[in-house]
Subunit: 596 residues, 2 copies
Amino acid sequence: MHRKSLTRQNQPIGDSVKKIQINNPPAKLKIRKLIPKEIREEKKNHIRFATLGGLEEIGRNMSFFEYKDEIVIIDAGLEFPDADTPGVDYLIPNVGYLEARKKNIKGLIITHAHFDHIGAIPYIIEKLGNPTIYTTNLAKEIIKKRQGEFPNSSKLDFEIVKNHDRIKISENFEVEFFNIIHSIPDTVSVLLKTSAGNFVYCTDVKFDYHENGSPIGFEEFEWVSKLNIHTLFLESTNAESTGNSTPEKIVEKNIEEIFKKASGRIFIGIFASLLTRIEEIIKIAEKHNRKVAISGLSMKTNVQIAQNLGYMKIKKGTIIPLEDVNKYRDEKILILSTGAQGEPNASLVKIANGEHRFVQVKHGDTIIFSSSIIPGNEKSVQTLKDNLCRLGAKIFHSKLVDLHASGHATGDELKKIVKIIKPKFYLPIHGQFFMRSVSCELASEVGVPKENCLLPDNGQVVEMTENNAKLTNELIPAYYIMVDGLGVGDVGEIVMRDRRVLSNEGMVVIIATLDRRNGRFLKNPDIISRGFIYLKENKELVEDLRKKIKGVISRIPVHQSMESDYIKSLIRDQIGQFLYNKTKRRPMVLPVVIQV
Amino acid sequence: MHRKSLTRQNQPIGDSVKKIQINNPPAKLKIRKLIPKEIREEKKNHIRFATLGGLEEIGRNMSFFEYKDEIVIIDAGLEFPDADTPGVDYLIPNVGYLEARKKNIKGLIITHAHFDHIGAIPYIIEKLGNPTIYTTNLAKEIIKKRQGEFPNSSKLDFEIVKNHDRIKISENFEVEFFNIIHSIPDTVSVLLKTSAGNFVYCTDVKFDYHENGSPIGFEEFEWVSKLNIHTLFLESTNAESTGNSTPEKIVEKNIEEIFKKASGRIFIGIFASLLTRIEEIIKIAEKHNRKVAISGLSMKTNVQIAQNLGYMKIKKGTIIPLEDVNKYRDEKILILSTGAQGEPNASLVKIANGEHRFVQVKHGDTIIFSSSIIPGNEKSVQTLKDNLCRLGAKIFHSKLVDLHASGHATGDELKKIVKIIKPKFYLPIHGQFFMRSVSCELASEVGVPKENCLLPDNGQVVEMTENNAKLTNELIPAYYIMVDGLGVGDVGEIVMRDRRVLSNEGMVVIIATLDRRNGRFLKNPDIISRGFIYLKENKELVEDLRKKIKGVISRIPVHQSMESDYIKSLIRDQIGQFLYNKTKRRPMVLPVVIQV
């Protein structure tokens, strides 16, 4: 068996994985064996790094650093499911390795309050032994609020951090936080000081531009560049894009232009998490004398928290309850709404479908989509726009003018960060292989030697010493854990595979009730089918199918064993083939043999 | 019941639909009753138009014009399924209305050889009574080739048309064809001359630009503008986009730049249908002394047909069989491949997965994606790029430089067409409501009165007289027909709904084998589950479930009727609730009661 798949899939979590690796070290290590003393030195001093999510997907970000018996974790995010994982709620990182070492965990650092960085906390924090969460004020409140939604969840232990706070988390890890720009306030990057050197771990980051084109947000990187950075860990979400990010000022200007022209109500569909822009939009509304009503629980909560903490300065009386919008003239109303992705049950979708309790769209309304379309949501967004347009609303979206700017730096901007910091080693995070690979190329264009750009997979351990950083063959289990309803991890790959088959081909259950004494039918075979063909309208096929089943059973010689498993496999194979011949489809055939 | 849903869903095809409408004419008609003579005149002379697909989706394009007892159809396309229609092969238009009037059908015009315009032909042509297909040479050969793939399909009757051919299809319909630019050669637009006036029916169209920026492709519209056009029917696919289309010359130039730098083999992933660009790429290969191998049956077929007909001029010896690529030095090879969307089983995916018979990707290979990403395919394309990148290939795609140009005109270009043609009425086709609505706005900006811009739904009849064109309330059945394996139409909404539930929640089959005499269990209940929870790993839940089932049955008083349906509904409700309480999921519960 191929060794990668062995360690990845079949190994129990914990030390056994490591043991196997030692028996079969990577090529480079073998060469080093010529200088045994150096190895011993290095092994003793090396810092280990691995991600448990975020390197083979967008989302589910979680990484950790380990040195001797100390572990520091950064972020604990979730990923939303897609067509490959139908029906599950979230995918979260596998924390088995950390759980087995929970006594070593010295802290969990959270860089910002987006779900792909905080969403796994309620599911894993106890497994990690409830470590102190180091994070900013805003993130703390949003995490706390969410934790409260989980019954019986444990109380969290926070330590609030501010820009340039220095914290000695443990004997060997000192951390300094510095602010970076993202689409939510209070996003920090982490400067980690270790015996091997200084690391910069920079999650989601964007840049903005003044109206004269001069950039905002590079100053902190200038500061950190003086600290002789060993390895820069940098996000890669938009590494494939070029040029500069769209300035938020342009977005705000374009939105304000629409405000100037709109004579009726204005709706803005926006992500609940884009708090920075939401604040700016509320300011525009105040300037144009519009009251602001918020539709969508998550946005309401976020705005409330941000307002309470002073991150949002909103005039008294600006925000009104949604149920009061009809008390004001149309041109005095702005409604901020979640659901710009066309998610079923989200606020804007309910409004478009006429299912909202308080708000109906009418002729003269203006609707602004201040959001990008998350890949996979194109059709539902198009349907949403159709429905709103049919109601007579005027719709503005980013294909016409910029009404949204990404929260992630472009490839060219990432390159600038690398150029400023000049790290010895470069390890792009938050992106699939190709994105990270593009990011490495960009880094090598500005001076990081190609061999110092690292592309590990999820779970692959990276070892760092004073003068080196290298991939190892050691793989920590990092396959995803599915959260479905109350179940965490009980939906696995087999269940997913079945869902995919059921979804594409449907299924046929065949129940053969046989006389135990002679193996003959006690009654006509029962047939249930869903998602394959509508049986009531295909009676001929059902009759043929019954005959075929009887034929399969009757051809078994009476003296032969009537073992259930044997009959089942006969039915599965022959009926499967029969249905394929008749329909060119392969429904899942589930035989049940009842012998009475 | 709301009348729209009545006519749309429950009415049999045929005259009955029409009858209902006459009993309940649209508001406008009611007013007209004041001038009865005019109505009679109008009814006698009106041309009827409806689409059977293409107005509420991208794809499945099919429209027809009807006058007295004559019908002319334009296009008969298919639509590819999406997340809402899992597992089906295609969606095709419902031709019930036409089938009931097949003796009136005078011809089927096909504008070009793309599947969203020709794909339904094998499924519907016999229902339409095998009318003559009027189309260009290239489309004819591609349609014929595909028809041959359907066993027992009838022979098609073609009449080949060329630029500015005038054909009197029937007493009341005269047609003139004129060439327009699209991503496949030999695309025509239709000028339809009728007693009500001249119509232009313009399906997929794009514009190109010379290197100096001057546009190509507007000339024919200048010509047609002199003919006093009554209604312009114009595609809307890219109506939401602005600016000019990317010139093909730029795309070719960018591709050639990559050719100049590549030292190994070059792969280009491209749609099999983009014959115009494929020809240009082959020319670039010839210029740079590379042989061309084609991977992907559909592309091979298309190129062969285009070459045979003289649409592609390829030097002898340029095209080599795919199995011969290893006989040449790497820098002498170009491989054109289908599968740039990451479709499972497509050529490029097989190559990336190391499953291709002849071709493996290696370090030094260059891979160009000369294609857009069809919405919904983002993840599979990303995975494809990841896999190719991991094999050491250098990848170029359109996010970096333009390596693809759309086959559809932008909103601004559509506006130019309207401005040139100056039609009295405007009816955008090929697009969802919002896209068409945007297109109407653009048309009204260049002079078409707003009330003359029409936005019918699929199946909604439009009536046109010399001075008028208006929507009616008449709805022809235009819901889609699903093709799944050998079945056409046997997979309906119920089967789809079941597939969606199965895909999200899975199912649990519960088999209760009861003693007919006393209604008590003869054996333990059998439980089968797929896509819900992996039973083998959740034995406790299974045991609880068994107990619960027994409890449900045992609580039925012995004297009470043990009617199967009653027991089934008990199990369905109570077990459904039980599982929800335990897991917060709602699998489909399928009870089977066997009484022996």
